[in-house]
Amino acid sequence: MDPSTVHQTCPPYTTTSEFEPNTCVAVCPAPLMSDQQQHVLTIIVGVEGHVAICCTLLVFFAYMTHPWKASYPRSSVAWLQVPLFLASVAIVIGVWVGWEKVGCDKCSDPNNGYTWIGCWFSHWSWCWVSAWLLFFASLSAAVWYCLVGVGLLISISTVRVPLSDRAQAVIFHILGTVIPFLYAASFGLADQFISNGYGPCFVSSSKVLPLSFSFSRCLLPPYTNNHEFDSIIVGWLVR
């Protein structure tokens, strides 16, 4: 018999793996939600996400065109809207292109056979893009929110920072945008973003690679070894 005609049979809700021969992997997206639940998810995220995107753009425009609020430190509230906008986009991408496209592309599989960012260079990955955006934007939003607090504190206290407003604003941007960008980029280059089998993709520590290790060790020495957001799909390999 011609070996090429031998087809592997996989159990229900599993399929042959593209990357490892003679193995079966769970179908994607995972059947965690019924079709009706997926519709509800799409409608809620679609409506709320688009309203959120419009709100962030409106607030940014309102503050940046205002003669009084566009100046530091009041403008911190406007700059906070930028990561909030990106985070909303990252979540809404699933509605735009479909949850299946986001959660089930090649690069969302942790065993995709690529190292570093190679998969993303070889295949456009909505999973990678949305996960990276969500990672960066959420972290940046938290820092900017903190910086709004710092701005308020500077405003109401009698202690003055011995720097010009421009210098202070630049420091705010470095802290709020540049550092979270570099931090997120280090994990993005290491291709650590995976699908949970549903919804938006997110970071996985199970794919820790040297760059992110070396970078994150500078910032978070004791914590990078721990597993977080491990791929659920990895555990479902049925051999």
Binding site: L32, I44, T65, H66, R74, S88, F135, V143
Partner: protein, 180 residues
């Protein structure tokens, strides 16, 4: 951990800062000050609540439920693989005891809500509407509209020049104009 540890730390720092700001306003001007700066307090309160919810949801519920979810899914796949009569293993989309869809969607809703609530709070400030109204009159109707914030700009400029010359403390009125 690479995300949630720094995120939670930053949110906790923000919570402490915001609490200090609100307490300081209360200390300086009492409840009337809180009432006067309700937008600021609402902005701080909602932002912190939403961000803390995301953190607490991850650390308390999400991490714990992941193991249970993986186990129930594994059991479900094994059931499908080993039973010829697969009706025993429930219909597609129903993993027994696996996934709390309501909690998951609620989490996404909370994650998207700060943008909307912030916009409602910030854009309810009459200064924004007044500026748009002035701009409409100035650029569309070509009317001669006086600068509403000229005196504030002058005061700020003056206070900065005084600070740079004498290192004197600034006027305390700045907090009132931060968000309101």
């Amino acid at each position: 951990m690479v995300f949630w540890f720094p995120y939670t730390t930053i949110v906790l720092i923000a919570a402490i800062l915001m609490l200090y700001v609100v307490l300081k306003i209360w200390w300086l001007s009492g409840f009337s000050g809180i009432y006067k700066h309700w937008r600021l307090v609402a902005f701080l309160f909602y932002g912190i609540s939403a961000y803390l919810y995301a953190s607490i949801n991850h650390w308390v519920f999400d991490r714990g439920s992941r193991t249970q979810l993986t186990e129930s899914l594994t059991a479900w796949y094994l059931c499908l693989a080993t039973h010829l009569d697969q009706s025993e293993c429930y219909a597609r989309g129903h993993v027994p005891g696996g996934f709390n869809v309501t909690a998951y969607i609620a989490d996404l809703c909370v994650n998207l809500s700060p943008e909307i609530v912030f916009a409602v709070i910030l854009l309810s400030d009459p200064e924004i509407a007044l500026h748009w109204y002035d701009s409409f009159r100035r650029f569309v109707l070509r009317q001669n509209v006086p600068d509403r914030w000229a005196s504030q700009k002058r005061a700020l400029k003056l206070s900065r020049s005084i600070i740079s010359q004498d290192s004197l403390p600034p006027p305390s009125s700045e907090s009132a104009s931060f968000l309101s």
